[in-house]
Symmetry: C2
Subunit: 261 residues, 2 copies
DNA sequence: CAGGCATACTCGTATAGACGAGTGGGCAAG
DNA sequence: CTTGCCCACTCGTCTATACGAGTATGCCTG
């Protein structure tokens, strides 16, 4: 065990590239080439210290680069491991089509079942509250809204956190204000209430998570979030719902179909 | 200058939260509350060492957390600054509509001009090459493809890097294989060649950038990329182009309209 | 054989010090 | 006044050391 297998090369002392970057480069390349496979343990800090003849902080700096890239994850007491690329969940753009709604189950549950995963919905909160500036603008200057918060899990792993906002004059006193909105979800209820849906607008951003998002989604470091804001419009052009969704980016691929007209 | 303005509190020695995290928390909160504004300089490492009575590495650890979150950026010799949230570029889902194409200018140029920014296209490369497994699959098992690579800049800042892949039997010898594809871009040429476009499929992922992406997009640390793969289908259902796009996530909001049918 | 403990190995946190390198301002020489 | 140098301040990199805490293993004891 004195010398690491020839998986890793030597440092170039003449290079102006910082040592900890050189080490990170070599590890990254070894991972990319499959020398270290998904879930596999990297050499320990001590082994790399020995192999490269550098101090421990330097090795740790290298690891922290790779963590920032989402390539590896450290586990206290065990080692540093190559992060598995988790199976991703595809969100098709037609998931809110009326025909799906008519089957009664929510899009999330249906899709997860189809993929053979165990879906779960969590931390449901339904309450009236003051609209933020942004939500108010999107809903057309409403002051207070009904907020429906929930977290989605797949095989026990939280992957998505979503909040729906609805104007009180639409939602108050209806089943939409109940924890369980009934078959087909709130879109089905909206249509029953005479708010026939015309189209959705979706805005997509990606960014690094806030600490609270890291917590609720149990995100590894180096995993961004996809922030999706969907507004539902009825046939009169009125916005009837805004849904604010934060997704673990390593769990999702969004998919859209656009006409070429 | 002996004591920092009361912008920052004290450490809680009884807390089990690591000191460098407590410091990061305080700085983050101060930034969120606007105590430090966009572009403003944070206290220097030395000042924080003094204020909190910790070692320099501990302060640097705190900064590295905030950098990982994309909240701050260090500038060598100057200080650590609150990252400005750059103005974002919206990509509408109808940007490839035929009516836009008929005006002759590319979507990027038109949109940027409209937003009052100075657009630029860069590092153009057009060549035939072997298709990767993924591209080959998407294009329907083609072996070799025409690849068109280009980088887009906005007011001098690179924001997007894109590669279009086309089957050789469609593109070879046409103006599509020229550096300048002519007015309306390659979609206009495809239609002229009889490949009438029917629809597009877009796949969206978000992830941390690779080192080479950091370089070509000049990304600050803590900025994810949006990875968009668009496939264009003609009216016969044949995929005629795959466009692989990597965007700086802090420069873009994607926007889609979906029918509620 | 089963349970529990000791131990070695892992990463996490923190200190202290050293030198390098980029930036900007002030001062001195021309 | 202008030029150029020096210096103070900034972050970047690296070393060496120490202790804490989580994990796994194997041995020892009952």
């Amino acid at each position: 065990m004195t010398s690491l297998p020839s998986l890793l090369g030597d440092l170039d002392p003449t290079s102006d590239r910082a040592v900890f970057r050189q080490i990170a480069d070599q590890l990254r390349e070894a991972i990319d080439r499959g020398r270290f496979k998904e879930g596999e343990k990297l050499p320990s800090e001590a082994e790399l210290v020995e192999h490269y003849g550098v101090s421990r902080m330097t090795v740790r700096n290298s690891f922290s680069i790779l963590q920032g890239e989402g390539l590896v994850a450290a586990e206290h007491g065990k080692g540093v491991f190559v992060r598995p690329r988790p199976p991703v969940r595809r969100l098709a753009s037609d998931r809110f089509a009326r025909r799906h709604r008519e089957q009664g189950k929510s899009a999330f549950i249906v899709e997860a079942d189809a993929a053979g995963s165990h879906p779960q919905v969590d931390s449901l909160e339904v309450k009236e509250e003051k609209a933020t500036q942004d939500i108010s603008t999107r809903l057309g200057s409403v002051r207070r809204v009904l907020a429906r918060r929930r977290r989605y899990l797949l095989d026990g792993r939280p992957v998505e956190f979503a909040t729906s906002y609805l104007p009180l004059d639409i939602a108050r006193g209806t089943q939409i204000a109940e924890p369980n909105p009934g078959p087909g979800g709130i879109y089905a209820r909206l249509e029953e209430l005479g708010h026939h849906l015309d189209h959705f607008e979706e805005e997509i951003r990606a960014r690094m998570p806030s600490p609270s998002e890291v917590k609720t989604l149990r995100l590894a470091s180096g995993v961004p979030v996809i922030h999706l804001i969907r507004t539902a419009f009825d046939t009169e052009g009125r916005p009837v719902e805004v849904c604010d969704t934060v997704m673990a980016a390593d769990a999702y691929v969004l998919s859209y179909q656009l006409p070429a007209t």
